[in-house]
């Protein structure tokens, strides 16, 4: 066993509590987990936004301006910058009438990854193939 996949579910709306932020910061910390592990060991988070969780992916958050805290959007971008696979549920985007152009993106910061819009059935498969599930 070398690297294991972890399924992160982000399913709550933004800012009411800390949970979405913590889901992202916990996922991003995968980068330094090797401090505590042996060579070749590691974890790969698969971050899935579903239900009201998709609201976290909207762009243009003014959380720092209004409340003095880092925006969830910044955390989403940081996740893309450190090459996390992040999936947004297509069914929920359609249900809430959110189009792809409204979503956060870190292309301008040089990220290779983008938010990946996939149907729930694919998220189900992704989660099935992880070792553990962390629902935020």
């Amino acid at each position: 066993m070398s690297v294991i996949d972890l399924g992160f579910i982000i399913q709550r709306p933004p800012y009411k509590s800390e949970t979405s932020t913590l889901g992202l910061t916990h996922a991003i910390s995968y980068q330094v987990v090797d401090m505590f592990l042996d060579d070749g060991q590691g974890v790969t988070p698969k971050v899935c936004f579903i239900g009201e969780g998709v609201f976290n992916c909207l762009s243009g958050h003014k959380a720092m301006e209004n409340y003095g805290v880092t925006s969830i959007e910044s955390h989403v971008k940081n996740g893309l910058l450190v090459d996390l696979d992040m999936y947004v549920c297509k069914d929920d985007l359609e249900r809430f009438g959110i189009t792809e152009d409204k979503l956060a993106d870190a292309e301008d910061m040089g990220a290779d990854k983008k938010l990946q819009i996939v149907p729930f059935s694919e998220i189900q498969t992704i989660l099935s193939n992880t070792k553990h599930i962390l629902a935020f």
Binding site: E52, Y67, E73
Partner: protein, 99 residues
């Protein structure tokens, strides 16, 4: 005459008291994730709360924190700031409920 201002702070998980409580003069103030009632059409339909016989407000700071703008807001809903909310509390309503 009951003059009731209600803070609505959740979207899908909003408590059903919001739906049930009525008042001769009723105001719904959408804050926190309640702002999605003012901005999101689920399966093409606006939030059923907007069908209530009430005056609707949405907190500007909580819109922009979430990446939403005035353009996203349903025409029935007035955008207000914290200072306006204080005036609503003192001048428009007598009882306030956080639901």
């Amino acid at each position: 005459m009951m003059k009731l201002g209600v803070f609505v702070n959740d979207f899908k998980s909003v408590v059903d008291t919001v739906d049930r409580l009525t008042a001769e003069k009723l105001g719904l103030i959408f804050i926190q994730n309640g702002v999605f009632h003012a901005t999101i059409k689920e399966n093409g339909k606006s939030s059923s709360l907007l069908d209530k016989s009430a005056t609707f407000y949405v907190l500007s700071e909580d819109l922009s924190t979430r990446g939403l703008t005035d353009a996203d807001v349903d025409k029935r809903v007035k955008v207000v700031n914290y200072s306006d909310v204080v005036d609503l509390i003192f001048n428009e309503y007598e009882q306030i409920a956080w639901l």
